[in-house]
C-alpha cells in the first residue's frame, strides 16, 4: 500500500503531537500531584523549625540549610575546575591524544551511577581523609559528580563563540588570556551558567551519594564539618520508612519550588546582565 505524501505528513504530525503532549502531560501530572499534596504542608513553621520526632513533626529548616550548603560547596569547587578544563580543551590545545583522553574521561565520569561516586566519597573523603560524614565530604563528592557536566556544557558554550571574536581580540592587541577572559567567556557565559544550573539540579536531587558522604543527621549544621541531611535524603527517609508521607510531600514540593526558582532566577540574571548585547 502506498501512502501519499500528504497523508504521511498528517500521520507524522499526529504522532509528533501525541508524543509531545504525552511528555507534557506526564511532567505536569507529577509536578501537580506533588505540589497539591505538598504545598498545604508548607508553613512558616515547616520552613523555620528543625525536624522533631524523626521528622514526624516540626519543620525541615536544617535540611534546607544543609541542601543549600552542600550544593554551594559542590558548585564553588567544581565550577572553576570545569571551566578551566573547558578552556584548556578549547583554547590551549589542538585535538590530540591528550584531549581525547580528557574528553573520554569526562564522558565516562558522566555515565557513572551516583552511588559509585558516593562510595568513592565515603572511602576517600569520609574515611581516608578523615572528614567524616560532613557537608564538606558531601559537597566534594557532588563536585566530582557534576564536574563532567560543567566541563561539557562549558566546552560546548566556548566552542560556539565565533572565532572572529578571538581574532578581533587579538587584533586589538589583547593577549590570549585577555582575549579569552574578556571576549570569549562573556559570550559563552549563558551556556556555562546553563551547565551550572543543570549541575545544581543534580546536587539538590541527589540522595544515594549524599547519604554515604554527608550522612543523615537532623541537627542544624554549625559548620561545613557538620553532618547533614539534605532535603532529597530527608524526603527519601520519610517516605521509605513510612515516618510521615505528609512531610515527605511537603519536602518534595519545596524541592521542586526551589529548583524552579533557581532556574527562573538564573535565567533572569543571564538575560539581565549577560545577554544584554543580544
Amino acid at each position: 500500500m502506498r501512502i501519499n505524501a500528504k497523508t504521511s505528513e498528517k500521520i507524522a504530525k499526529c504522532l509528533i503531537w501525541t508524543a509531545a503532549l504525552l511528555v507534557i502531560a506526564i511532567l505536569f501530572s507529577i509536578i501537580a500531584h506533588i505540589l497539591i499534596k505538598g504545598i498545604p504542608m508548607i508553613s512558616w513553621q515547616f520552613l523555620t523549625d528543625i525536624p522533631r520526632d524523626m521528622g514526624r513533626s516540626g519543620g525541615i529548616s536544617s535540611s534546607i540549610v544543609g541542601t543549600l550548603i552542600v550544593t554551594a560547596v559542590a558548585v564553588i569547587v567544581a565550577t572553576p575546575f570545569g571551566i578551566g578544563t573547558a578552556i584548556y580543551l578549547t583554547e590551549y590545545t589542538r585535538e590530540s591524544r591528550v584531549t581525547r583522553i580528557i574528553r573520554f574521561s569526562a564522558e565516562s565520569l558522566a555515565g557513572i551511577p551516583s552511588i559509585v561516586y558516593g562510595l568513592f566519597g565515603f572511602i576517600f573523603f569520609v574515611i581516608y581523609l578523615k572528614m567524616g560524614w560532613s557537608i564538606l565530604s558531601g559537597g566534594l563528592t557532588m563536585a566530582i559528580m557534576i564536574l563532567p557536566t560543567i566541563i561539557r556544557t562549558s566546552e560546548e558554550a566556548i566552542r560556539t563563540v565565533p572565532q572572529l571574536y578571538r581574532e578581533v581580540g587579538f587584533s586589538l592587541g589583547l593577549t590570549k588570556w585577555q582575549t579569552i577572559t574578556r571576549t570569549v567567556l562573556p559570550s559563552a557565559l549563558p551556556g556555562i551558567v546553563n551547565g551550572v544550573i543543570l549541575s545544581i539540579g543534580r546536587c539538590v536531587a541527589e540522595t544515594a551519594a549524599v547519604i554515604l558522604t554527608a550522612g543523615s543527621a537532623l541537627r542544624m549544621p554549625t559548620s561545613i564539618f557538620s553532618p547533614t541531611r539534605t532535603m532529597a535524603v530527608h524526603f527519601y527517609i520519610l517516605a521509605r520508612e513510612g515516618i510521615s508521607m505528609d512531610n515527605a510531600y511537603g519536602t518534595a514540593a519545596l524541592l521542586i519550588i526551589l529548583i524552579l526558582l533557581l532556574n527562573v532566577g538564573f535565567n533572569m540574571l543571564v538575560n539581565r546582565f549577560i545577554a544584554k548585547g543580544r
Binding site: E167, V168, F170, T175
Partner: protein, 265 residues
C-alpha cells in the same frame, strides 16, 4: 624590479623582502617583495586562494596561531623586522589594526565596543574614554547617528553602521596601519560607498592596506595595487605591483591584463 618600488617621494611604511609563507608543507606565499606606502591606500587583488588574506595577515602576525605556520624572508614595519624574536606581538597589533570581512561587534553596547581596546591598554578614566569614543566615532562619521544610542546593543545598528563601528573600534587603539580584509564584501552598495569614502579620508593619517575581490573598488579607492596569483603549486605570488592608475590602464603582465579585463578569476 622597478615595478615594486614606490613613486619617488613616498615613504615606505612596510617593506617585505622575499617573503615565503608555509602552512605545514603547503607553501602559501612565494617570494613576495613589495614596499607599502605610508598614508596611502594599497589594494591587494587577485583570484580566490591566491594568498591575499594570508599576506595581509602577515602584517599584524594574525597567522601566528595557525598550526605549522612558518615565515621566511623579512617584513619590516618602519624598518624594524616584525618577525624578530624580540618583537612585542601585542604592541605590534596595537600599531597595526584590522577590520574583518563581516561586521563583528562584540555583544556589548556601542560604547563598550568602542572602549574595549583602550580599556585593555590601561585607560580607565571615564572622561578620557568618552573623548576617545566620540573622536573615533566622529572619524568614521558615525557619531551623529549613534550618539543617543551609545548604551544600546551594537547589534541593533545596521550592518553598514556596525562595520563603521568596527573600523572605529580598531582606530580607538590608535594604530598606524589599518588592514582591511574584504571589509565591504558583506555590505550593501550604499554602505560600501560610505566606507570607501571613509577609507580615503583615513588615508591622510593612516597607512591602509585592503584586500578586495572587487576590482572596481581597488580602482576607485587605492593608490597602489598589487595583483597576486597562484603558482602551479598553488603558492601565491605577486605578479604585478604598480600605481593603481597604471595597473588598470596599462598592465605590464599578460596575466594581470587577463584578470582585470575579466578573462578569468
Amino acid at each position: 624590479m622597478d615595478d615594486l618600488m614606490l613613486e619617488s617621494g613616498q615613504r615606505a611604511k612596510i617593506k617585505t623582502d622575499a617573503v615565503n609563507l608555509y602552512y605545514g608543507n603547503f607553501q602559501a606565499l612565494r617570494n613576495v617583495t613589495m614596499d607599502i606606502a605610508e598614508c596611502a591606500i594599497t589594494a591587494i587583488i587577485g583570484p580566490s586562494g591566491c594568498g591575499k588574506s594570508s599576506l595581509l595577515r602577515l602584517f599584524n602576525r594574525m597567522n601566528d596561531p595557525i598550526p605549522g605556520v612558518r615565515v621566511e624572508g623579512k617584513i619590516l614595519l618602519d624598518d624594524v623586522s616584525i618577525y624578530d624574536k624580540s618583537m612585542d606581538v601585542v604592541a605590534l597589533k596595537k600599531r597595526v589594526g584590522m577590520v574583518f570581512q563581516k561586521p563583528n561587534p562584540f555583544p556589548m553596547s556601542v560604547y563598550d565596543n568602542m572602549a574595549f581596546g583602550p580599556r585593555h591598554h590601561g585607560i580607565k578614566q571615564r572622561a578620557r574614554l568618552d573623548e576617545i569614543v566620540e573622536r573615533n566615532l566622529s572619524q568614521v562619521a558615525l557619531w551623529d547617528e549613534v550618539k543617543d544610542k551609545l548604551k544600546e546593543s551594537a547589534f541593533d545598528l545596521s550592518p553598514g553602521q556596525q562595520q563603521r563601528l568596527c573600523i572605529a573600534r580598531a582606530l580607538a587603539v590608535e594604530p598606524e596601519v589599518l588592514l582591511m580584509d574584504e571589509s565591504c564584501s558583506a555590505l550593501d552598495p550604499e554602505s560600501t560607498m560610505q566606507v570607501e569614502g571613509l577609507m580615503e579620508e583615513l588615508a591622510q593619517k593612516y597607512t591602509i592596506i585592503i584586500v578586495t575581490h572587487s576590482m572596481e573598488q581597488a580602482a576607485r579607492v587605492s593608490h597602489m595595487t598589487a595583483f597576486m596569483m597562484m603558482d602551479h603549486d598553488r603558492a601565491g605570488t605577486l605578479v604585478e605591483y604598480a600605481p593603481t592608475a597604471e595597473i588598470f590602464a596599462n598592465p605590464k603582465d599578460k596575466r594581470t591584463e587577463d584578470y582585470i579585463t575579466g578573462r578569468f578569476g
